[in-house]
Amino acid sequence: MLPLVTKNLGFKVNGAILINDLSMTLDADGVSVVMGPNGAGKSVLLRLLHGLMEPTSGTIRWAGQAPDEWLRRRQAMMFQRPILLRRSVRANMDFALRQRARGNQREKIDALLGHVGLKDLAERPARRLSGGEQQRLALARALALEPEVLFMDEPAASLDPASTVTIETVVRELKESGTKVVFVTHDVAQARRIADDIVFLHRGRLLEQSDAVTFFEQPSSSEARQYLDGKIII
């Protein structure tokens, strides 16, 4: 499905330009981490790439192909604010799995829930889970789909340290198994641990795309430098 190529990508809502003339290429291998200040457009970009919204200008090509429903079904996305059905934890898993295969998948669900530490909470209403538990359920649900591309929008924001370690392990395992991960985080240390290359956004523009080492050692834009230093730049 990769490389993913965008050309002059733009997205406007009511006159506000959220993504501005963005051209980039994401390769098949390695974890791409998207960084940038709050409101830079990271979530919007992920939603455009995943095909949840139509760009208002420019193009997106997956290995030359325009995004469509079939490509999207081979991808998965973890939203910044998990979208959970008004059902039990198990029913949420079940619903996701049923979109890919028929039949009872109880064991698979149990295994996945065990993996994210939610086994004992399987029968709880999903929307009553704690913030971190919701993120873990979203992770389990995304993994259940065995996607070729996984978009993760700040998946560790509410996770405790141990779960953060788990999710980073998961990302590494996914990378090894050939899944492309596009990961958004504000945690610079985390980005350093998992990123192979960095996409740096600022006010809807791509300011920098480079491999991780270069980015963290010698960011070329002053905005990226300020961002990493925790200076206000928006």
Partner: protein, 235 residues
């Protein structure tokens, strides 16, 4: 004023006596209105849900239309069905006029727009929340529809009750297509209209009290069912 006291007394007597004529009428009322609600739900829920989740050109025109159809007068619906089912009409051969079947058809036409319009609004708001996830997952339209209806089921219950309320209280349409024929198509509302036109207001009110009690029972049963459902499932 003595009409009030009198009618409660009459209502009470009728009920405790289990007056067989009354039981027949109550039974038919329930049968007709519950059937109409069931059929309307079968049509209106998916229709409303589809309108709530789909985006297509002309959608808002459609919505206005469905909303406006909530204002369809029962008498007009009755007339339409009458013309269709009368011997001179295209479906006269079905010999449905002046039968409970005709009454169910008329009430179904009457309440389907209500169910569809209210469902549309509820599903639309739930869909706003779920849409991105469904799109990401690649859920089929039918799958979305089912999931939205299922997750909104407690709100849709109120919609169903609104439909039931309208159906059980309705007189204009069933009067025309049913004919209020004793022992055949007489329901609570047409019986009330009859007693009113006879000037027996106390009896009419008594029947009204019983009808309200009926509506209350149905609503309470539904809420009880819902209560146990919530306890075993999730909000």
């Amino acid at each position: 004023m003595q009409d009030f006291a009198e009618s409660f007394a009459i209502a009470f007597t009728l009920v405790v006596q289990l007056d067989p004529d009354l039981m027949e009428i109550v039974g038919l009322s329930l049968k007709v209105s519950l059937s109409a609600v069931a059929v309307s739900a079968l049509i209106g829920l998916p229709l409303g849900a589809a309108l709530g989740m789909a985006r297509f050109p002309g959608r808002s025109v459609f919505i206005v239309l469905v909303n406006a159809l909530m204002g369809m007068p029962p008498v007009v619906v009755g007339l339409l069905v009458y013309l269709m089912l009368s011997n001179a009409g295209p479906f006269g051969w079905m010999r449905l006029l002046y039968s409970p079947g005709a009454m169910i058809i008329a009430q179904t036409i009457l309440i389907t727009p209500i169910i569809a319009a209210l469902t549309r609004d509820i599903v639309e708001r739930l869909h706003e929340e779920y849409a991105d996830y469904f799109r990401s997952l690649g859920v089929s339209s039918a799958g979305c529809l089912g999931a939205l209806l299922w997750d909104a089921r407690y709100s849709l219950l109120t919609v169903g009750l609104a439909g039931f309320g309208r159906a059980i209280a309705e007189v204009g349409a069933v009067m025309i297509v049913g004919g209020n024929i004793d022992h055949l198509t007489r329901v609570m509302t047409t019986a009330i209209a009859l007693e009113t036109s006879k000037g027996d207001l106390a009896l009419a009110l008594a029947l009204g009290v019983i009808l309200l009690a009926l509506a209350l029972t149905v609503n309470a049963s539904v809420m009880l069912l819902r209560g146990t459902a919530v306890r075993t499932a999730y909000a």
